[in-house]
Amino acid sequence: MRDLSLHILDLAENSVRAGAKLITIGVSADENKLITLTIADDGCGMSSELLERVMSPFGTTRTTRKVGLGIPLMAQNARLTGGDIAIRSKEGEGTVFTATLHGDSIDCLPLGDLAGTVTSLVAVHPDGPDFRLELSSPKGETHFDSREVREALSGVPLNEPEVVAWMLESIREEMEPIFGGVIQ
């Protein structure tokens, strides 16, 4: 993975497959450039046995493959910076994935196109789940919530090309003052 936004795209798809109705993606950076990524969902959750399996590159819920690389790759990138990952999950309630990375480490991946990640998640799942993006840095905080967009559009699908273009531009505009210069 070339940047953190691609990891987020990959990991959020796990939440979609877990049957979540709302997936909250959080990206925050503090004054010490400690970056915290969270992906929280209200999907089916995992048993402790499955939780142990998904942490291994040789564990997956798929039946046609023997490997699942998404979480191990994220863990490797986080640990290279001196950070780590954690997963809290309860069956029937949901899962919270957290990764911490030290943004001043030479091994820290750039944030990448987070607006592209969130927009494509919404666009390929127009009937839900909904996605909420929460961003914060010492420069301020903001959010994007597909439920607000869905309500404003009242019946127009969220994957309409003009809506997709609006979401992309909207999230980019919101992110600029929050992350401009804080993390790449």
Binding site: M1, R2, L6, L9, D10, E13, T64, R65, G68, L69, G70, L73, D113, G116, T117, T119, S120, A123, V124, T142, H143, F144, E148, V149, A152, L153, S154, G155, V156, N159, E160, P161, E162, V163, V164, A165, W166, L168, E169, S170, E173, E174
Partner: protein, 125 residues
């Protein structure tokens, strides 16, 4: 967030457009992008965004973009399937945003698949 009021204008415009669409959705052209871990790592997201962008710019009304998982040919990602009504599926491999623009112009708009980007052309080499 950009003003939600802007969405009201988009809603009105889009509703008119949706009403003009064919009622039978099986007549739609479908673009399906592989977006598993392998596809994402190989660059599938900018490819998908470029398809959406190009479809928006050209106001193509009967094209939908969706995603699929890993089909086991990770070395050929990013992969894109194009389904045209009444025609055989065309699978494009090693896609880029530039290639996506050409596929929209030549295949989706003009009905001529870009043979050199297809899985057949790549695997014959």
């Amino acid at each position: 967030m950009k003003s939600l009021a802007e969405l009201e204008a988009i809603r009105k415009r889009t509703l008119e457009r949706i009403n003009l669409r064919r009622e039978d959705e099986s007549e739609n052209i479908r673009v399906v992008v592989g977006m598993a871990t392998c596809g994402i790592a190989a660059g599938a997201r900018p490819v998908m965004m470029e398809f959406m962008n190009e479809i928006n710019k050209r106001s193509l009304k009967e094209v939908t973009v969706s995603q699929t998982g890993c089909i086991g040919m990770c070395r050929l990602e990013p992969m894109v399937d194009v389904y045209m009504p009444g025609k055989e599926k065309v699978t494009y491999v090693h896609m880029t945003p530039e290639k996506a623009r050409r596929v929209v112009a030549e295949h989706i708009v003009n009905g001529r698949p870009v043979t050199e980007y297809t899985i057949g052309a790549t695997e014959d080499k």
